[in-house]
Symmetry: C2
Subunit: 436 residues, 2 copies
Amino acid sequence: MALTTPEEEKQHNNNNGCHMNLAISQYCTGEPQANLSAVINHYVHTLNHFNFRNLGYPTNQNFDYDALAPLLQFHLNNAGDPFVGSSFRLNSTSFEVSVLDWFANLWDIQKNKYWGYVTTGGTEANLHAILVGREQFPDGVLYISEDSHYSIFKIARIYRMQCVVVKTLFSGEIDCADLKATLLHHKDRPAIINLNIGAVDDIDLVIKTLEKSGFSRDRFYIHCDAALFGIMLPFLKAAPKIISFKKPIGSVSVSGHKFLGCPIPCGVVITRSEYMNASSRDVEIIGSRDTTITGSRCGHAPIFLWYAIKKKGSIGIQNEVENCIANARYLHNRLSDAGIGAMLNEHSNIVVFERPLDHEFSSRWNLACQGNIAHVVVMQHVTIQMLDSFVTEFLHKRSFSRFQDYGSFQPLCIAEKVSIANCSCSMHNLYHDCAC
Amino acid sequence: MALTTPEEEKQHNNNNGCHMNLAISQYCTGEPQANLSAVINHYVHTLNHFNFRNLGYPTNQNFDYDALAPLLQFHLNNAGDPFVGSSFRLNSTSFEVSVLDWFANLWDIQKNKYWGYVTTGGTEANLHAILVGREQFPDGVLYISEDSHYSIFKIARIYRMQCVVVKTLFSGEIDCADLKATLLHHKDRPAIINLNIGAVDDIDLVIKTLEKSGFSRDRFYIHCDAALFGIMLPFLKAAPKIISFKKPIGSVSVSGHKFLGCPIPCGVVITRSEYMNASSRDVEIIGSRDTTITGSRCGHAPIFLWYAIKKKGSIGIQNEVENCIANARYLHNRLSDAGIGAMLNEHSNIVVFERPLDHEFSSRWNLACQGNIAHVVVMQHVTIQMLDSFVTEFLHKRSFSRFQDYGSFQPLCIAEKVSIANCSCSMHNLYHDCAC
């Protein structure tokens, strides 16, 4: 579809572009279908404006589930344990188990050795996994890195666990020297470690650090929060096998809607079945076991995931992964060539760069911003044409700021987040010149 | 649609009636669309068989969201706090806030006095509400009745809260004499009380019990788990105003998919805004506050709820409530007239009765069973014709059991669950005759 101009977008400039009056009167007598359809059509129109400008968030917007529309006629509910089944017959647990088997195989764990479920998103997957860790080690200390997803900090508070924050390197990777120091500080208590596969924490190095700090395998539990990359990494020919249950890890979580693409948020958690035997109870009323966090669970999400994996196939997924990373490199090069500080980790599709100062511009491209930096996550719907439009507009806005400030414009310093080598602020730019 | 015969159903007799091979090979090269559509069509066919025989669970299967099918093209995500908004523009928070305003008004709390969100179901709503209670009273004791939803027991364990189980009366209502005894036993610690509006716990009586036990209003927090009935009760002309924030309650939760009907599980939690100010943190990356349990949240569910409420209107909802209760009375009378022990609380659509001994029959009608009893929840898709078919088949199966057992067949005793007056086992039937 044609991209809109900034002027067109001002017309859709509410939080979600929807400026209709949606209030529901307590005395309403039932709205005519025509009115309801008009609201929905208008909303769809505004969504279309934003859909293909979504650069900042790791959600694949390029999917087609039209064939699944008939499923909207049913309330599907996978209440309880997907492997036990449920007496609520309108469920999709057979699709769910197929999806789980696929992920288990992807991460090197046999069918009879794993347990898992399709969650409502990455956060529920982490909630479950860290609870499994806490059940193993009720007095364990939770170690999380500074760059952990914001939900992990919340989970520690909810679960009443002592939580230690470990420093990170510029790449976002957990700093194993700091991890070792903190482990030694709490060496009398078991360790529950949350690793960010997105920031590409080095699982092997963390395991070595645990061993060197005197933590035998029966005294630690590692959860791998693999939000986006858990699906991508196994399909990268050039990448080492990072996520594998052949290593002494306890669980892996991944978001379903991020790489595969799904209308509704969902996730997957896989853990070892040996952990699940003691920690749940049978619930006769649903004919199942209450092994999940949310109990009643969406039956549609597993079907979306099943459909996406089946449709793409391994080769399709691999092509998408390689294309996203190639396009991310293209963006990184374009920004660097234009003298904008930017960073792209190896095997990653997330380009970190100098935050645009124009809020409207950031909002228009749906950028995720934090401090002096912004992210573009190059997903399947992000084309070279979109990236070209984005960079051209960014450069135009930036040069306009420079003009407006009568020469006093200074690029933001982002060295703290991306290292001096990737920063293009006035001071570090000089450093690059010297280094050359 | 025509109901199927038991013989037809044997063909669809897996856990969810889906006996296709859904396995995903690790080496699959992408399935042709025709094959995928064939699987989905077959699944839809099997779902249709079960859809209008769902008697045991409180899910309204009578809805039509065809007009919302275009929304399947978008990943909608209401990450963060619905009132703060989000920098992820593909959200539906304006629909969500309209839905929340409607519920807040229903339960007598002003717009500027409440906070809430649309959850992934009743369990997440309870998870949030009880966490709010725990934040108010970190050392509070959680009181729950025997008849509480199974998730509440899990929540207590997850949250590391001391949990006291209080007895219930035959009606399922919390026994305030036992509540008082347990309150006095822990009188030095604040009380967090989970009430089941489904079992129709008497909020006013519980508040009086708290006061009589020496708990002033700054030493207790009441959460009302109103799963199904939270929407129904306010529309019952004959019922007193049960749920109201004019009473000293802290939160109310309700399921969205139960009475209103929704393809995916969802719920609503409403609490007082004063509780929310201190307990969450801003998250710059999503431009919102991390005030919810699940973080990334389904953007479609609030639109389904908005659409359902708008389409039905207050009069439509009231008609549906009255019709469900009238049909439940019809079922209760038919069972009682046939000499089957059964109970129906006032203002309720849940008929509790002697559990059918034939497992296939229970499964065929998707009954929820527990011990010696079974439930039918008379929702909007349950017609008089369905109930007649159900009762006729039940009586036929029961008389067949009686015949098979050569006269030794005895109706199950369910007095413990429904009281002697409602039990039709041999012993209590004699009691009825005497009483007559």
